[in-house]
């Protein structure tokens, strides 16, 4: 799994390539924590290169969303979500808790 973060004017752009499972989910959790500990709670998660996500990865996303939305200080937006990843989020009942955008540019522009 590869992780790239790009600080932008109004948010942090997070891109992950590869597979998020119980082995790699802790790395994703660490990155979300780094971002929020740095005081940024507006995050665009570009998922276009995520090939696989298990429930372990989905819970990391929920924890990050919970932390960002606290005190109305921000939110995690999802962008470019591949079909199978979307289906996993949907099956878990998580889709209503995220704004999902077709492109990362659109998501970034929404903050």
């Amino acid at each position: 799994m590869e992780i790239k973060t790009t600080p932008l004017k109004r948010c942090m752009l997070l891109e992950v390539a590869g597979r998020i499972d119980s082995s790699t989910a802790p790395q994703l959790s660490d990155i979300f924590n780094e971002i929020t500990e740095g005081g940024e709670f507006h995050i665009v998660f570009n998922m276009s290169k995520v090939e696989f996500i298990s429930s372990a990865g989905l819970w990391v996303m929920v924890t990050a969303q919970k932390k960002c939305k606290r005190f109305n200080r921000g939110e995690v937006y999802l962008a470019e979500v591949p079909k199978r990843i979307y289906e996993a989020l949907d099956l878990a009942g998580f889709i209503p808790y995220y704004k999902v955008y077709d492109s990362a540019a659109e998501a970034v522009g929404s903050f």
């Binding site: 082995s23 929920v62 099956l91 878990a92 009942g93």
Partner: protein
């Protein structure tokens, strides 16, 4: 019945998913079904590590399969603590995930993504999880 034995740790989840992806393709299942199987076996193996063994590297996961007329039958065998699926409350997927306990989703995924899921506990023999996935045109 082809068999592969993996030390029960999270690094091997990818190998377990790949083992079953190859098996599912050889059984003639389409890529959507192959992905469903990868999700189900990942959740199953992660549950074995977390709950049957109570942590990583405390045993092995014996992975086998059988190509059946309708698709594929997958068997995961561990030697950990007995697992009773009836004791796991199904997640309320309509509730706010931020207030949910991060539990129960793995078993729910397995049951949703596979056509048949059965658990049995064999005394000293450990847990045997059997899951079947059928080709789209068979039922």
């Amino acid at each position: 019945m082809p068999l592969a034995v993996f030390p029960a740790n999270f690094k091997n989840l990818e190998k377990i998913r790949e083992f079953y992806a190859r098996a599912a393709r050889s059984a003639g299942l389409d890529e959507d079904a192959v992905y469903d199987i990868q999700m189900a076996v990942d959740e199953a193996a992660a549950n074995i590590i977390d709950h049957a063994y109570g942590g990583e590297n405390r045993g092995v996961i014996e992975c086998s399969y059988e190509i059946i007329e309708k698709g594929i039958r997958i068997v995961l065998h561990d030697h950990g603590k007995a697992f009773d699926p009836d004791l796991i409350a199904p997640p309320d997927v309509s509730s706010d995930p931020c207030s949910r306990k991060p539990r129960g989703l793995g078993l729910y995924f397995m049951q949703k993504l596979m056509d048949n899921v059965r658990f049995s506990f064999n005394g000293d023999g450990g847990n045997i999880l059997t899951m079947e996935k059928y080709k789209e045109n068979s039922c």
